[in-house]
Amino acid sequence: MALPEVKQSATEARLSALTLPEGGCLKAARHAALSRVQTMGLPSRRDEYWKYTKPDTLVQAEASKAAVFETGEAPMFDGFDRLKVVFVDGVFDAEASDDLSLEGISIERIADICEKDIHWAKDLYGVLEARGQTPVERPLAALNTAFATDGVVIHVTGTPSKPVNLVYRHADEKSDAILHHVIKVDSGASATILENGPAAARFNKCMEIDVADGGALHLVRAQGRDHERRAATHLFARLGSESVFKSFTLTVNGVLTRNEAVVELTGDDAVAHIAGACVGDGDFHHDDTVFITHDAVNCESRQVFKKVLRNGATGVFQGKILVKEGAQKTDGYQISQSLLLDDDSQFLAKPELEIYADDVACSHGSTSGAIDEEGLFYLRSRGVPKAEATDLMTLAFLAEAVDEIEDAEVAAAIIGRLEGWLARRH
């Protein structure tokens, strides 16, 4: 079927600004992804899935400028015992990075997959992204698979002693980065990945995660404080039986962010938690789009998203739980809430459940509201000044999402960032 003309021309304009990288052993995967993009066309405002978020600036041929923001504070996770992998404007920086060897995990660049003949990565690249294109199309992810210029493939074979920290620095105000990571967690292996930084003026990131039976992966990211940056990220995860995947995302600032998570529970007794906290002030648009498919027995999924919005900021949540036939004993939970600190901000939510099994427990809830005046007065009557009381109530609102982070040290660092954001607004 031919694409609508507007979409066709927008897609062509974007594709003409890109060069397909030398494919090597990934040539077939990249070409297949390119043809997916050509068939689907890039997102436009008319698409149902982009009803609440304008994709124009994510799709346009050139990235809009975004000033590099000097925060005056140390980057997130500095001071952590970690293995640091640094990308500057989407390009791997070997000098700024640590030695990539660590017991229990192997890390290679996408560019080296072919030369080093890393079979599993060749076989996985683009596969989960392609699976994630049905039932809902995600053209920006296919664009990523085709045109990604860098990224790492991470193979978790044991239990590494420290987390891997992917650091995304932004240096050029016009940078347009496309990164693609592939992560494979072996049976019984377990690791934590930390990500932080604004990455680029415009960032398109795709992460494919395959967790084998009994494996576990924890992912915590902080998207950087650059006000003008734009990002479209995709996370595709496939979970084997008794495996665990937990993801938490902190978003502070950013003029436009769309974070998609597509999770498939394919083995019995698997657990997936996808959580996020965002705080936005003014020119801020943040979209969490999540699609969780239960395709096995006795799996648990949780989606916990909290947004604090003020001065005309916009929050979007589109979250779906699909329970396939036979996925009995599914335990699905979804909550999306916004705290609107004034009358100018808005929260748009579209929670969905689609269930084809008869013995499941699924719940979803979505709320939008102001600070609880009763609670505020109670705190003030005990001597807590209004601003501090408001902050306490705001952090309390965010707590359910932050509680999804298992590591106490990481959670404390995230809370520190949230407190900083609140304190800067006194």
Binding site: R382, G383, V384, K386
Partner: protein, 251 residues
């Protein structure tokens, strides 16, 4: 300590006068009780004194140790020494009881230009005070009042009072929802805080709380005014004859 003169209060959003000229003086070291039928303005008085939104003072004044408190923010009143034990303590999910207490104690100290309590000193003090109120470590860890029973909530109010060491304590129907044992525990907590330098205003429907917290002065509030003032025997009269008798007498 507390001096209220000719206090008139109406609801902010509607033309409804609740307090119609309340005069009241609570001296340091004394316990004053305010009794009165439903709708007489008892809770309004406690809210107006603590600074809750929604009320408008149309006439009169209220001073705490000579300072006009009606223009102060709720947190400034608290720092000045005012404390209200709520009739319905508010649940605050996500805020730990301990965090709440410590934030409150240190906010007041800071407002008064005093040094903040160190984490260990605070912990020592809160544990000792919680113990006498039979508040266990688990309750201290839980979010403020969330999942607390009626008795636990009231005990938690008294713990806050004990930690904040206010000059004037207002207890708004602290006996409501309590069984006899719980009431005794709460009353013991209050009595332990009775002190020469501290005044109490105990608001209640019933005489039974006053069996445990012995008042020096009892006032009857009806239709927005104090209609009768007397000694502890006045509370007994209410218990025996009801408000109707007293009100008829005063009419």
């Amino acid at each position: 300590m507390l001096e209220i003169k000719n206090l008139h209060v109406k609801l902010e959003d509607e033309e409804k006068q609740i307090l119609k000229g309340v005069d009241l003086k609570v001296e340091a070291g004394k316990v004053h009780a305010i009794m009165g039928p439903n709708g007489s303005g008892k809770s309004t008085l406690s809210y107006v004194l603590s600074g809750r939104d929604g009320y408008e003072v149309t006439e009169g004044s209220a001073e705490l140790e000579g300072e006009d408190i009606l223009e102060l923010e709720p947190e400034e009143r608290a720092a000045a020494g005012m404390f209200l034990a709520f009739q319905y303590p508010v649940e605050i999910p996500g805020v730990g009881n301990m965090t709440f207490l410590r934030t409150a104690v240190n906010a007041q100290r800071k407002a008064r230009g005093e040094e903040e309590l160190s984490a260990s000193d605070f912990l020592k003090e809160v544990r000792a005070k919680a113990k006498t109120l039979k508040i266990d470590a688990e309750m201290l860890k839980r979010p403020v009042n969330v999942g607390f029973s009626g008795g636990e909530k009231k005990r938690n109010e008294i713990l806050q009072m004990a930690m904040l060491e206010p000059k004037l304590c207002i207890l708004d129907e602290t006996d409501s929802g309590l069984d006899v044992d719980a009431m005794k525990l709460v009353a013991d907590g209050v009595n332990a805080l009775r002190d020469e330098g501290r005044g109490f205003l105990v608001i209640t429907h019933y005489q039974r709380l006053l069996d445990h917290i012995k008042p020096d002065v009892v006032h009857i509030l009806a239709n927005g005014r104090i209609v009768k003032t007397g000694g502890p025997e006045l509370a007994l009269e209410v218990e025996n004859n009801g408000y109707a008798g007293i009100l008829a007498e005063e009419a």
